[in-house]
Symmetry: D2
């Protein structure tokens, strides 16, 4: 058994970034069900995120989405965050909601549209300078719905050109994280559909360009942990967008659909040194029907539990069984860790950090849920603005 | 070769129902891109639908969606339709957009919510009485996002109870068409996920309850034509919602993603007598980025072309090859029909009907597209209202 | 918390049938890797199965496959089983390996081939009479590889006719379990591809015809526990063929690919009364690269662990949360049970049954593995004979 | 319309390599159905392949599989081929059938097994020297069935090391084509599951290492033509293994399951210059239930027809529509080519080449099928030897 003290130490330094937009309203193309108490501006989102960090201790940063989280004074926003124990995190760009982007953004056939998209991305880097964010996350809704609609290859050329311009604008300590997605909102092909495409572009761009793995963005049957292991081996794993899915990009709470898969992914992170290699661990989820703050707390805890199990894998015993070709023995070593109930261990970790061992209960007892329902009256609730 | 005259006769009597909502704006959860000239009320939708019928000759009815197409006077609406050579068709219910329906409608745990949903469905039958519609199409967004969220089995009980009440309300010449859908907007399980579930309910309800096959609502790898053949054999195929998909419920133009599949489906319809058995052939699509009226014309033509090919299958030669176990020969008979270019044949059919052989060109030349952009200024464009 | 005593009692009476063929060699179309010590006849298979039961206490019956397990004297075979604490279980038919069955068996276009297949099935019922088996399991490899190859609908007619003849031959206490499978070895369509088809046939046949759910036989994204809940509600769930899959019909050890899914399935069994409703719990797996007996012990334990977790679900708390629409709370009740480490509980159960709490270790220490390698020299190892 | 003469010229120089093993017996794990007249040695396979070339005119090379096609004297084999108008083509290695390879070949944990596998691969290059083959095709069955079974990352290290050794052995005019496959026979993960992995390895190896796209080796929903376009853009597309699939790696006749997809793939080949860039066009199929030689003729014709349609795409009109953002117009240009019946055109091409316009009929009339049934009596039919 790996030494428990080391496991605890690792768990105490874990950091899961939460996304500002998960605190706002979201939904499907059929309906967005608004919830009471939802934030109306980036400040209120941060206030909610601070609750998640207060009770879990491992959610110290918040990802922003531009323009949804645009403010006049990012310094003031950063200060507001710091006062609540938070830092501003990854800047997420949006090249899919402007009317000009109906047929794409930096892959669009029209240079004027591409320029518009690029200007937005460069503005995002400006914002990173202001917020002190390390990472620019690039997810492109670009793609086509119908065969022939546009030239697949030229779109790659345009993509490469656009990415290069943004890359050149990055500061020394800044990175771009390129996200891939199999489908939606483009249905015939997206322009960055898989890790291979993201990897090929990042490779040409340079070290500051890294691939981000969104756990919901793969074809059925894809072995995600293989991709994680491979990207770590190639030093190209920039981060995760955690969520879970049963079918497509369901954006359910991470760990809700397949907790064993999450464990396997985090085992490969652990085995590949990913916990100490600058990999960003972010949530990217939608809480369409469940209460948002508790859903995020739960998600953070799910990541913690899967991480604890991954850290508990007896690596030496595993290596012996693997070397000996003991298929069942090796599998059993992994399953022993997975089958362990790590909730008591995490309770201890929290108590040692001065936290309540039960984050969900502590949040519930805090009265915050009632408070925001009562206080956040009037105004326009935050959402995707779709 | 099947006699060409019979094929032409069948093609001339074909009828494809177009959905009122396809003329309005639609999109994904990321963005709805509004288009110019989009209808602002049910009357304008009918005016657009009349164009489709005018140029194709085989789109004589329009499906309505309640409440999106609610009007004060359905008689007036029907009269407006008739003046344009149309009839009002299937009534589609909506039990997914009221705030009460966040966790379901007729499957909801709360009887008050179920009552609300049922009242809506009964109102839809009232509307059918007013419009003279034969079919009530029931698609339920009901389902759950998380394991444990609700009791799968009790939801079936509630579903059965609700369907029975609606069934009892149907008039002698009215039917209910129960649609199934694998996922979305519910992500863990929907309450009618597959044809088996829809079939089991319809069987208990009686002859007026029939299954509707939406071509986009299946798991990857599902053989849809098998389902069609089976439902026809069981006398339980009520109709189709045509569209096409590459991944999930993409709602692309029918025939755009897999024209061979569409042909195979229509072959099973033909072989099972479905063209003369009261099966409803409806489109249910979203034209998120392409011009709507021409997209619908194109879709109708795609159905026509696949139908023509299906009708051209040399059934006798096929039967001989099948009986002899001639795998390649039997397949070749089918492929011969599929590989035929039926566009000249359909051009002839149209000319014999007094239509332009080129519906797309005729529509383009008609000036309607420009006219609606010019005239439909102000007001609120129709859409899903999500 | 459900009372622990009741949970233990249920776990003690659990019965998982193991399949004779899992003790023999198996592989893929690419290669069958033979293993040392593999049984050479049905008697040796039973001897191995007795080991599984000896160490787990919950594997008292063994499924036979005809003709792989054909013997002269089934009475002698049954006696041999009984002497080792076993009973003969389900009879599995084989209508896919005779050269005549290249294009199908009871769905074949040629009546002579259908007759041959039916005679085999009737012979299987004769064997059931001799072995005292309750269940005849029918899995048909029937289907087509190419569109047009045969008539989908006529094949259904032939299937219905064949099933009816077998049904009529069943004794009062005998059942037929109809298995469905999406694909393989037929690749275009199988003749019983989904639960709906199996259900429709069983419904017409009568109460003795029941559906069997093989956990590996579904399209990607299918919610299997929904099917289980639905079939239990319809009183048509005859049994399970347990195994697990990552992609297609991988036939890996049950619980190896998605233990959370197995838990959800067994929760629906529990919730629907399936543990006391005559449902057959069978393994149907291939141990292509791992040692067979320990793989089967492990699989039985995986079913036990998932069952224990399913039984530990706090049904009352769950019902309250579900009724209140508390999405996160209801999900949490389910996850609390799933996250419990039930291995200590199962250790207790075993000790109370007079067994070693560690079946894997006990088997390893028993020396059986070495014994069979040493003794089973010469002869022909059992396998699929493909 | 592209000039017809150019299209014809391109079609006349097309070359589709047929695989020796497709002429032998094959099947599924359930059963291999032997066929009459099947070749008993590599010479007879070549004799059959010569028939395919004789009637299609575009199948001038035959891929060999080692050791299935091992002969004493490759010079003699090559001469035998040449006498029949054929050349020996790609050498396919086999690292999946030796008993040593149960847990992998060049990715195996044991260096001795890796050595054995590498020696086989080096022997294959020796054979290439003897046969004058350009390409070594590497498909590895390597992978794991159970999480934890082996270390994913170390297996990549071993793979890289092994590939490098083989690469160094290649002659100046030789290439290695690395094939990827999502699953089977490994079910948890394969060691080269996707194009990204193959690409990353080939990139490090150098120009002589290229990726081969087997059209049956992808997850559901994967856009294969995107991969083709991307690999061509990266100058890393080495070749195709053509076949078709409905579900998994069904290995049906190319074009049988989704002819529109085949067209789209070949359009991207055409658009990316792949017809003149050294890309190898090979079949890799199994004819489990259909007659083998006609199935291969049919497959070659399917590739021809899809190629003809791809070449007929009006590239200029397409570019205009794409540039204008005319979604429907651009799609229509592509569909116009697809909907064209190119069989008359191909008939002309064949007649201009001095061939019968109807290859299937000509083969049937040739009497070869009867001749081989009559003559090939006794001996052991060729197959996979699994």
């Amino acid at each position: 058994m790996t030494e428990l003290a080391a496991v605890k130490a690792a768990l105490k330094t874990q950091a899961v970034e939460t996304p500002s937009w998960a605190y706002g309203n979201s939904g499907t193309r059929f309906k967005v069900f608004a919830q009471q108490g939802v934030p109306r501006d980036p400040y209120e989102k941060l206030a909610d995120a601070a609750q998640v960090h207060e009770f879990t201790g491992v959610a110290p940063t918040v990802a922003l989405h531009i323009p949804w989280d645009k403010v006049e004074d990012y310094g003031a926003l950063a200060k507001y965050a710091e006062e609540r124990g938070l830092k501003l995190g990854t800047i997420n760009s949006n090249t899919f909601q402007d009317d000009a982007f109906k047929l794409g953004s930096i892959c669009h056939a029209d240079p004027a549209v591409r320029r518009k998209a690029l200007d937005h991305l460069l503005e995002c880097v400006d914002i990173m300078d202001a917020t002190g964010s390390r990472d620019l996350k690039l997810w492109f809704a670009d793609g086509t719905n119908y065969p022939g609609q546009d030239d697949i290859r030229e779109r790659q050329d345009r993509l490469a050109e656009g990415l290069a311009e943004v890359y050149d604008r990055l500061g020394d300590d800044q990175r771009m994280l390129l996200e891939y997605k199999l489908f939606e909102p483009a249905f015939y092909t997206t322009d960055v559909p898989d890790w291979g495409t993201a990897y090929a572009h990042c490779l040409k761009l340079g070290e500051k360009a890294q691939v981000v793995v969104d756990t919901g963005h793969h074809a059925p049957g894809t072995n995600i942990e293989f991709i994680v292991a491979t990207l770590l081996r190639e030093r190209k794993l920039g981060g995760f967008d955690f969520n879970s899915r049963f079918y497509a990009d369901d954006d359910l709470m991470v760990g809700a659909a397949d907790p064993f898969q999450l464990f396997r992914i985090l085992y490969e992170v652990s085995r590949g040194g990913g916990f100490t290699a600058g990999v960003a661990f972010m949530l990217d989820q939608c809480h369409n029907i469940e209460a948002k703050i508790p859903a995020i707390i739960r998600s953070v805890m799910n990541v913690q539990e899967a991480t604890a199990k991954a850290l508990l894998v007896d690596r030496e015993a595993l290596a012996v069984a693997q070397r000996e070709g003991d298929v069942l023995g090796a599998n059993a070593v992994l399953m022993d860790a997975y089958n362990t109930d790590v909730r008591p261990l995490l309770g201890e970790v929290r108590e040692e950090l001065g936290l309540d061992p039960d984050p969900m209960g502590a949040y519930r007892r805090s009265g915050w849920a009632e408070k925001i329902v009562e206080e956040r009256v009037g105004g326009t609730q935050a959402g995707w603005g779709a």
